[in-house]
Symmetry: C2
Subunit: 85 residues, 2 copies
């Protein structure tokens, strides 16, 4: 088995409201960061896992996203894999 | 002025407890994802902003992290910049 580090980036789907992003935008503007036009807030999840191959690691991470980590109706996710020697 | 998309990845500092990561790890294990060894949960913030240069965009994003987005005691952050034509 090999060890992998997986990074999952979960973001609210384009076109859906993102109240947390709106709140951060308001706070940045009140701090005079007026050049900011849009803010979206998502989650970043780093996992350490064992798998036979990078392909298997990606498949397992994808299953984790579908079953637990991401909400498929409201969120998109992207998986990046790094192998750990 | 040019338009940039900034991605900020905020993660709990190494060595600090991450209760949310522990909770996700427990949930993954109970779903029989037993190959997962560690989970850390952070935030992903995407900003659209205007700046004269990529360097200025990075400086402004760094100031936003220090003043609002990240907790400098408990979190690390990484800034990636993409220019939008």
């Amino acid at each position: 088995m090999n060890r992998y580090t997986i990074e999952v980036r979960i973001t609210p789907r384009q076109g859906l409201l993102d109240p947390e992003g709106q709140a951060v935008l308001g706070a940045l503007r009140s701090l005079e960061f007026e050049e900011v036009g849009e803010v979206r807030v998502g989650r970043l999840i780093r996992l350490a896992l064992e798998a036979r191959s990078a392909e298997e690691a990606r498949e397992r991470a994808d299953a984790m996203c579908r079953r637990l980590l991401a909400n498929p109706v409201t969120e998109d996710y992207r998986i990046d894999i790094e192998s750990v020697s």
